[in-house]
Symmetry: C2
Subunit: 350 residues, 2 copies
């Protein structure tokens, strides 16, 4: 998904006094713990969690993929099926979107190069811990993260036969929706996605306009989370758009500035886990999901995601967030666009 569009209405900016007061109050009233449920909630219980809008780890949400998906199984099922894989030269991508230096040292918001490979090839690369050597100085990273509903898109719920998928052969292992979420939200998912990467794939910090259910099938995922009200700690700025591509006949991937894509608002914080990268008012939460664990990640929560294990496989269900009532307006206000500077101004020291 592209950058969050919450800020399009350009609300007035909250003062620093207000955002600091909100952050402190939020932390005082909610603490730093993340609740763990030992089994999936009922629809009513989940609806209550959505209202509270705090991340929750859910155990026991067991789907066929969890038992069935070995490397052999995936290769056999997807034999002969080209799949879209995002390639970045340095392995840092935000679901394939992240900041990187381009021409003249300017920072860009860069989308990955997309390559079609076989599942066999992808798994070989990931398991070896190395990838296609794109550049003599920098090994590239592959990340299966074609995230616009690569298993099921919203079209599936309107007309199942018209929703073609590179991973159609895996659908029998992945429920198209989660009953307790669908009932609680009163709607079907907008997208169900498969993610396959390794420790080289790091997702830069961002937030999504979705209620997110995220299940790990293999390996471990490490989340650094900040509530929507701490977004001001992430120094969002405006960056020009670019894509990774080949500029000549070499294997090297270069940052190629886009000519007609709008600028992108993105966090300037490259690694929120690095000491000093966040102000003292920020209270990041850390949670690790192992295979079989599910995270409820509420709309608007900021997340930075790392993974470990030779190959990490995950699935997620994105549900449109509720836009009725006040919640969406609060999220817009917290992202008030009034004072977001350009990312490459004179004071930019990176």
């Amino acid at each position: 998904m592209a950058a969050l569009e919450l800020d399009q209405a350009a609300p007035p900016s909250l003062t620093h006094d207000i955002v600091r007061w909100i952050s402190q109050e939020y932390h005082d009233m909610n603490g730093s713990s993340i609740q763990t449920l030992e089994s999936p909630p009922t629809a009513a219980e989940f609806a209550q969690l959505v209202h509270i809008s705090r991340p929750v780890v859910i155990k026991g949400f067991h789907i066929p993929a969890l038992k069935r998906w070995t490397d052999d199984y995936l290769q056999t099922k997807l034999q002969g099926q080209p799949i879209s894989v995002a390639i970045t030269p340095n392995g840092r991508n935000r679901q394939a979107d992240a900041l990187a230096a381009g021409p003249e040292g300017r920072l860009f918001f860069v989308e990955p190069f997309v390559e079609k490979v076989s599942m066999t090839c992808l798994l070989e690369q990931l398991n070896a811990g190395t990838c296609i050597q794109q550049d003599s100085d920098d090994l590239s990273a592959s990340y299966l993260q074609s995230q616009n509903g690569n298993i099921y898109s919203s079209r599936f719920f309107e007309s199942p036969n018209d929703d073609s998928s590179e991973f159609g052969a895996l659908r029998e292992d992945v429920p198209s929706h989660i009953p307790w979420v669908t009932e609680a939200l009163g709607r079907n998912p907008d997208a169900v996605n498969l993610w396959i990467g390794n420790s080289k794939s790091i997702t830069s910090i961002h937030s999504d306009p979705y209620e997110n259910i995220y299940t790990v099938i293999h390996g471990s995922k490490h989340f650094t989370l900040l509530p929507p009200c701490e977004g001001w700690c992430l120094q969002e700025r405006i960056y020009p758009h670019a894509v990774y591509g080949h500029t000549d006949n070499s294997n090297c991937l270069s940052v190629i500035p886009s000519s007609d894509t709008p600028q992108v608002r993105w966090s300037s914080v490259i690694n929120p886990d690095l000491p000093g990268s966040l102000p003292p008012e920020a209270h990041p939460l850390h949670v690790t999901l192992e295979a079989g664990d599910t995270l409820y990640l509420p709309v608007g929560w900021w997340h930075y995601v790392q993974q470990s294990g030779p190959t990490t496989i995950a699935l997620n269900w994105w549900y449109d967030a509720e836009v009725r009532g006040m919640n969406w307006i609060w999220l817009s206000l917290l992202r008030g666009s009034g004072d977001v500077p350009l990312g490459n101004d004179e004071n930019d020291t990176r």
Copy 2:
């Protein structure tokens, strides 16, 4: 219940630009309609309504009281039981709390005089449309609204035998909780109240820190509603506290200033339905409940309530609002106490 205590943490004030933007955005995204459900929702559906936090009219929530409660039935059931009735000289009370002029013409927040009468006497007064004549110029109004859980209080759910009630004989007609609400919120009610009044009893505009389920048993109730984000339109001010009482041997009720009760923050708008009493940015909603209708009135919503029919009987279930997450903090912020003036300053023209 006393005045809303949301403002105790004294958050910084939102600017007028911000509150105007929020009000406009809220109206643009939510409109002015009130949803009607033809039958009670499931727990998951109700939890979703709580998340949206808009008023909803619910049909078909039928409880024994609706069929059983005639005047004869109530008088027979409560024979010999003194019941607490609020008396005000002018019939305007906010669940017995409202502004009124006291000594030297100053405005006070005044609580009613409470008298113990029989149900027979109360119903006679209400049905006659006249009440105890307290004052030659102004007939007083009686309103049964002893609202601290006069049918069930929170104590009932801990220790049912320790929760005595003037209306214990009516409990078999009133469920102690509403299953679809209790499941959705994950808690029992804080208070279940009986209200008996007539058209002379008007509830001044205020908001409560509760999720409220309000069912009309007899007569009609007319609600004027404003969302929490339009609270700034209501000109809250700080008023000294007083009670109605008898200062001499006459029947007259007078405003008696309290000596040691904290001042009260209250809306200066006496009648929001009067043209010109609200700024053009306010978008009040109007809804009438007839016997058998139920209103879900979400936490923080402002309400002004009138009633019609010789006698109006209603029940309500108050559930504590969710304080986890951001909602409570937003409500506090919307009631930011920074710029609330005193109610009797030199510019006060009432």
